[in-house]
Assembly symmetry: C2
Homo-oligomer: 181 residues x 2
Amino acid sequence: MPEKRTGGRSAAVLAQIRTAVEDLVRERGAERVTIPMVAERAGVNPTSIYRRWGDLPTMLNDIATYRLDPTRPLPDTGELRADLVAWAGEIVEHYAKPVNAALLRGGAASAGETESDCLRNRRAEAVVLASRSGAPFAADDIVDLVVAPIIYRVIFLPWTLTDPGLAERCVDRLLATGRAA
Amino acid sequence: MPEKRTGGRSAAVLAQIRTAVEDLVRERGAERVTIPMVAERAGVNPTSIYRRWGDLPTMLNDIATYRLDPTRPLPDTGELRADLVAWAGEIVEHYAKPVNAALLRGGAASAGETESDCLRNRRAEAVVLASRSGAPFAADDIVDLVVAPIIYRVIFLPWTLTDPGLAERCVDRLLATGRAA
């Protein structure tokens, strides 16, 4: 797990590193970015990066979803289907940006040992949504039926993310499964 | 797209390379394998590897599912649910082996430009399954509801692949969604 530090200077350094990573991935593609390159662009010592993240895929995995702010408010219109569609639509929209998709793909190589912050945050949101009144499904169903198909497309079939009905279709399947159970 | 060659010598070389990659990934982890290392272990010139695949993630992406043989017979018992559960179970079992999961994760970094052979083969199988009599769903539904949740777990939550009910749960959701539609 990356070391978490707090405080003004650390936060500013972290923001510089994130910006450098995002710019370099956008310019060169995730597979051609290196830690010394990020350090130079961010104006930090490569050692600081190695100390915090250990290696490049771990850093990409951690930074991949910085911009999908975990503190943003969840949609809450009082209508469950509308909230789920809006939430799924935010995830689709986030990853329809090539830089965010490239970061997720670059980070996937180092996934699988611990749950990434990114996906833990989405799961925490799924827990909240599944606890709303009248929800006929569990948080795990949201992960399998909404998050997984979207992330699968981000990694393997990104050209299908422009399908305008994707978020609705995932949510309608979730609701249909819940009603049938 | 990697160049596809046929013939006895090429096939033998390809088998040596695949074995070398699988052994090295098992020994060192996908993120510590390099093309020169694979070439040395396989007894081939690194140039042959660069010419065929271009870079390491592309090679991993292509080799990741070699062992889930696309010519194996699909389950065909006459009972749709049983066939789907057996098919989904094969995919889970394949990727529950750490080396296969590591190859998939290592290859994910280079995914997203063209559909990998691996996933194209699974989609072709989904098309056959969706065309069987009485199937109340399309091939895309199989990909979203069965393949995507399994592959998502392989990459991000591999410790959940040992859940013995996973294949059945995915298939039952697929059937429930089809009935509700």
